[in-house]
Each structure stands twice: as structure tokens, then as C-alpha cells.
Symmetry: C2
Subunit: 250 residues, 2 copies
């Protein structure tokens, strides 16, 4: 499986993705699920992928080839006039790739070739925008009501984001929050694993501001992982104790 | 959907279940998912159910009729010599009910009639035992390594249990922990809802020691729900802040 989050802050867009892929429980590999294209200062586009690895790699490769040989293979996401148009291009590409393998000639598989994507970026004078793209090629956009998207194993790590997210938080605080969310997921589900890729695109910079990878030897990740366990236990102990008086009738 | 947890403590068995059932998003009802049978001092047996409501109600009714008219309809869980035998009886009943509706004569449905159960209790001189029973009728038993079972929407509320569970905790602390786990789930998923049923069977009592229902007007539940949000934010803020120095090479 996978766990990826894209999050919209006033300060910009934060992306975080794990790197574990598995075909069954005994075929585990490390693949980067974060891809970026940019013309620094003019546009930056980042894609996070979950689902069938062949599908997501094909989508990324097609987008990549189009963006490198612009004249040969239109349309390119580096020429699209808005993030909405980029989302349409990526969505169409995703739908076509799935369609080709699911319903094309050749052997049929028992599994689907589905993939779900998070797309974020900023073009020209437009604001940073964040989308979730479905296997059918359609998509939804983040708003102030729903300022983050998760794909893959999203449930374990959702409660802490729901409770601690704040649109005014800094990039650094967002990384801390997402590392807690990722750590909760990694502790609960074998199909999500380190290392973790992190990227930040500052609002108005139209470029990748920061990009780094966190592995299990990283002292900060270890501090967060053990520190959060202790903090949770402390917080839990500080809650008012339950007693049967709380449920006595009358 | 559903969320139920059965947990084994040194002090006894704790059960908690939500009461929301839904057929689609626009057909929501309240049903108790916790059933108990006991001969106080001799045996106590509790069942938590998730999945197809018709299946789980049929299973409970069949068990119920057998236990009320023992001579007519053997085998009864009130006569089984051990919790293992009770688990076999319940597992076989579950498998038979699913089989009857899934493959019997009459109209076929697009959905499955699956259900997963948590069974716990204590009989005679035996210890308290806790089982998870699958739709196929087979089952697994909790141990000191895996001292609790969750069924239904288990993922949101798992991380806090994994981190705060302690076999020495009191019944009251276990209720507090499970209320936090249920609150995290209810906040994240519409298919799990209040009121919550709680039951405790003290080790060696072979009877239901405590049983009560918590609804959304309960002051303690409200205090836990808002208190935990604050406690999480406080705990999160107390964690060491992230800085880019933590990921600088060298």
C-alpha cells in the first residue's frame, strides 16, 4: 500500500510520501512516489501517487516525456495555462493508462490497475492549488474546509491531522505534524514504510523550496516516534479518570 | 459500518461497541451490537457483531433460542464445556447463516452477507478468553501479544490503543482508553456513532460486572472528547520542533 499527504498552508504546499510498495506481503520494494516538474519562478508541479505501481510509473513517464520534448508530444504540463488544466491533463493520462491495461488486448488480470493521485502546484500569478485525482480521471480540489488530501492507508493518521492542522502553521510545524501522522501509520500497518520523502513549495515561489528524505536513522524522526508515544501516554494519563459515577442514572 | 473492541485485562474482559448501522448513507439506524448470555457465577458469554445486520441478528437469535429451550435445540452455548467449544458453536452458526442466504434458493444479492464477531467470556474454572470469529466460521484467540480485537472501522482508533494499552490497567482506565479510541473514530467516520455500549466481566466473577450505555449527552464523554483534542494539541506542541538542520547532510 502507500501513505501520501498533500497539505495546503498559507505558507505554501507541503507534500509527504512513504516509499514502500508491495505485491503481496513477500514482495516489498522501495520506490519514490513523489515526482516534480518545474520552471523555477514560473511554475512548479508535484505529483504523489498511490495504487498500482506500473500505472503510476507509466503516468509519470508519459508526463515526463511530454514535458521534455514539448514540440513532439503535446499537450505538456509545462505549457498548460493553469493548475486546473494540468489536473485535466494528468487525469486524462491516468484514465487512459488504466483503460489501456484493463481493457486492452492481451491477458486480463484479476486485479484492477487503479491508482489515485495527489497533484499540487502553482503557475504564474495563480495561487497554489491542490487536487486529488481519481482513477476515472476526474478530480476534486482542496479548499479551506478540506485543506489536505490523503491517499493510500489514510485512516490511522487522519485523527491527528484533523485535530492539529492549522492553516497558519509553518512549514516546520507541518512537517512535525505529518511525521506524527506517518509514524502512527507505520506503527500500525506493515504496508507503509520508511524512508519518507518531504517537499515544500513556498507560496509565490513557484519552485521547490525544500526537498529531503527522512530515513529510520534520522535522529529527529526517532525522537518524534518515541516522543509521541510518551506524549500520548502522558496526555492520556492527564485526562479525567473514568468512574462509574459518570454513568449512574439520575 | 461499526466499531467494536474486546479487550483482555488481568482484571477481566472489557467490551465496547457503537450502535450505528447504515444501509447506504441515507438509511441510518441504532442497533445494539452487544449480546450476553450468562449463568451468573458459572459462565458469562458476550458477543460483539459487525457486518450484515440480518446475519448478525439471525446468529444471535439462533443462539438465543437454543439457550432458552435447551432440550429442544442442542447444542446450546449454555451447555458447552469450554469457551473454545462456544467459539466453535458460534462460528458454525455464523457460517451456516451466511451460507443459507448467500447460496440458498431465492434471489441473489450483489452484496455479501458477511459478518465478523468478537466473542469473549469465562466458563467454570477456565480463564477469561477472547476470540475473533470470521465469516468462514474459523476463529483466532487473543493472547498476551495480541490482547485486544477490533472489528469494523478499526483503523482510526488503533494507534492510541497500541500505545496506551497495559494489561495491568483497571477497568476504569480501559473505559477511558476505549472512549478516546471511539471518539477518534466517530470524529473521522460517519458510519460509527453514539450511543456506545460498555460491558465489563471481572476475572473470576463469571458474570456481567458492569454494563451501561454512554450517549452524546453524557458529561464524561463530552469531557473526554474535547479534553482529548486539547491534550493532543498540547502534546503535539510539546514535541521538539522540526528544523531543516535535522535533515542537513553531514
Amino acid at each position: 500500500m502507500t501513505y501520501c499527504v498533500g497539505m495546503k498552508l498559507k505558507a505554501g504546499l507541503v507534500f509527504m510520501s512513504d516509499t514502500r510498495t508491495n505485491a503481496g506481503i513477500d514482495s516489498i520494494s522501495v520506490f519514490k512516489k513523489m515526482s516534480s516538474w518545474s520552471v523555477p519562478g514560473e511554475r512548479v508541479i508535484t505529483l504523489l501517487s498511490s495504487g498500482n505501481l506500473a500505472t503510476t510509473q507509466a503516468v509519470v513517464s508519459i508526463i515526463d516525456e511530454r514535458s521534455k520534448a514539448v514540440k513532439e508530444r503535446a499537450p505538456s504540463i509545462l505549457e498548460a495555462p493553469s493548475m486546473f488544466q494540468v489536473a485535466r491533463l494528468v487525469g486524462n493520462t491516468l484514465r487512459d493508462v488504466i483503460q489501456m491495461h484493463a481493457n486492452g488486448p492481451g491477458q486480463r488480470a484479476d486485479t484492477t490497475f487503479n491508482s489515485t493521485l495527489i497533484l499540487g502546484g502553482q503557475i504564474g500569478d495563480g495561487p497554489s492549488r491542490l487536487f486529488m485525482i481519481y482513477p476515472e480521471g476526474n478530480f476534486i480540489e482542496a479548499s479551506s474546509d478540506t485543506p489536505f488530501f490523503q491517499i493510500g492507508e489514510a485512516k490511522y493518521g487522519k485523527p491527528i491531522i484533523v485535530r492539529a492542522y492549522n492553516p497558519d502553521m509553518s512549514f516546520e510545524d507541518a512537517v512535525k505534524l505529518l511525521l506524527v501522522s506517518f509514524d502512527s501509520t507505520i506503527k500500525s500497518n506493515l504496508s507503509v514504510g520508511l524512508p519518507i520523502d518531504v517537499q515544500f513549495c513556498g507560496e509565490g515561489e513557484r519552485a521547490v523550496t525544500h526537498e529531503f528524505r527522512i530515513n529510520d536513522a534520522n535522529p529527529y524522526y526517532r525522537a518524534i516516534s518515541s516522543g509521541w508515544s510518551n506524549a500520548l501516554r502522558t496526555a492520556f494519563n492527564a485526562l479525567e479518570p473514568f468512574s462509574l459515577d459518570h454513568v449512574k442514572p439520575g
